[in-house]
Amino acid sequence: MPPLCFWRHDREYHHSSAWVATVNRLPIRTLAGFALLLAVGHAGAADKDLGREVAASCANCHGTDGRSRGAVPSLAGRDKGELVRQMREFRDGKRGSTIMQQLARGYTDSEIESAAAYFAAQKAQ
């Protein structure tokens, strides 16, 4: 079994040399299990700190925790799937924008998922 911290901090663990060392020592069957756990970890809400921190980088324009005080849309309390879909559409150039296409291309899928989960969990205005 992976250590407990794997669930809580898969982001840190994933990128640490300890993770590489652990993976190199493991039999292939366990690795397949790891891959599944990684996928679950990235898609789930376990990584709340990543979501919180990526969401904080949006706050300058969209307001703290996504509660906007102006014409830039609020993100707090919005449906997670809708936010993820919109960001992917911006990134892929399928949704028109002034600035969001240029910004969205800077974020990974897991960052978008994590931030969307964070915003979805916030109370709206």
């Binding site: 982001r11 700190d49 324009c61 307001g63 005080r69 830039v72 600035i99």
Partner: protein, 421 residues
């Protein structure tokens, strides 16, 4: 009213969080002192309060009684904003448990981990966050190296009294006069701002003083940001009002005659606005932390800890940023949140985010109602231990437009609230 009611409710939530912590272990265990209440320092103080839920004691040292925003301050020169519109009180930080002291940091003892204030108090810290902004290198403009000269030849590069005074000089200038702006060699605070300023002064001339003009003397070889957008404005809407002269390094000024002395030329002004070269604020330089060309502070981009002094972090315009990261209020706010998360993690036994991502957004006002943006996204690269622009991200507005003006205004309201609300 809605805002104050919401703030009241939030304040209630903060008190509950604080008492829960109190029930667990009385007063906060760790102490963070933040020096400087600008875009970097105020944001760091708020977010450490927010993310530690009261378990870290945060003190903010700021000499000013209220925050005055540099972004949008060129609009005070243009006449479409008053300085009061850009002034935000510090009281909003109280609900995050931030202890505020109106004073100035005089010295730091890194071994004892204490900060001594001009007012005499000495504060202990576990982690110190310096967000001192920039000081001007007056020795580079010898005749301005005294207070009397600095009252006549203004910089208006720190918003507030200087901004208002420069607007008064502009209003008092006779029609047919010349408003000279000198732009220092990069790097300087906010790359597009000198060019935005030229547009705002030209806007005023184009409606109030049609025989006047702006001469923009730039020490650099070209416009440093959003070049095509600014040049289009000068050749279009402001044709005849703006003269741009690149490669115009300043050797000194003649204060009595308001003359800018260049390497091969003298330019006489009716209003002379010199933006002097800049370096990190004194408190950081005193500690030997300005280790990038003796001017700016190198930091670890995972934590914004100085590469010279342990337990001391630096934010905002005082740092030596990675390539293509501008010195801007927006960036300082982003540095602050990466730093706040790292400081909370370091003081509570957590793990520091190994791949922080930050973004920059600047809206420049080319008139009172047309703006253009420049945006970039930067992610930490573990191989080089620096921040790199994410390939394919970022860009500019294709042209100045009024569609984005409401977004620019929302940006200002939201970032001010993100640091102080």
């Amino acid at each position: 009213m809605l805002g104050s009611r919401r703030d009241f409710l939030r304040a209630g939530a903060a008190s509950i969080a604080a008492s829960a912590v109190g029930a667990r272990g009385s007063t906060p265990v760790s102490k963070v002192v933040v020096v400087g209440g600008g875009f970097g320092g105020a944001t760091a103080a708020k977010y450490i309060g927010k993310w530690s839920a009261g378990s870290i004691g945060v003190t903010l040292i700021e000499r000013g009684s209220a925050f005055v925003s540099c972004p949008l301050s060129n609009l005070v020169l243009g006449g479409s904003r008053q300085i009061a519109d850009l002034t935000v009180p510090y009281e909003g930080l109280d609900k995050w448990g931030v202890r505020r002291i109106t004073d100035e940091a005089q010295s730091v003892d890194p071994a004892a981990r204490t900060v001594t204030l001009v007012g005499g108090a000495t504060l202990p810290y576990d982690r110190l966050i310096l967000s001192p902004g920039v000081d001007f290198i007056w020795s580079a403009v010898p005749s301005l190296n005294n207070a009397t000269a600095q009252e006549k030849v203004l910089h208006a590069w720190k918003a507030g009294a200087q901004t208002v005074a420069l607007r008064r000089q502009l209003e008092a200038m006779p029609d047919g006069g010349v408003f000279v702006i000198h732009v220092p060699m990069a790097p300087y605070r906010c790359p597009p701002a000198p060019y935005e300023r030229a547009c705002q002064v030209a806007l005023y001339f184009s409606t109030q003083k049609k025989r006047s003009k702006v001469i923009l003397l730039d020490a650099n070889e070209e416009v440093q940001s959003e070049r095509e957008l600014f040049v289009a404005a000068w050749n279009g809407r402001y044709k005849g009002y703006v003269e741009y002269r690149p490669n115009s390094g300043l050797t000194d000024v003649d204060v009595a005659t308001l003359t800018a002395k260049l390497d091969f030329d003298d330019v006489k002004a009716d209003v002379l606005n010199v933006i002097p070269p800049q370096h990190a604020g004194a408190i950081a330089r005193q500690l030997g932390m300005a280790n990038a060309n003796g001017r700016f502070c190198q930091v670890d981009f995972l934590t914004y800890e100085s590469t010279v002094q342990r337990n001391i972090h630096v934010l905002g315009d005082a740092i030596q940023p990675a390539s293509l990261m501008p010195r801007s209020g927006h960036m300082a706010n982003q540095h602050a949140k990466v730093c706040a998360a790292a400081v909370v993690a370091l003081l509570s036994g957590g793990e520091v985010n190994p791949l922080p991502v930050v973004a920059n957004t600047c809206y420049s006002y080319l008139s009172d109602r047309e703006v253009a943006h420049i945006v970039s996204v930067h992610r930490y690269d573990p191989a080089t231990r620096t921040m790199s622009v994410v390939p394919g991200s970022g860009g500019l507005s294709p042209a100045a437009n009024s569609e984005e003006t409401a977004y620019a205004e929302a940006w200002a309201k939201n970032i001010w609230a993100d640091m102080l609300g």
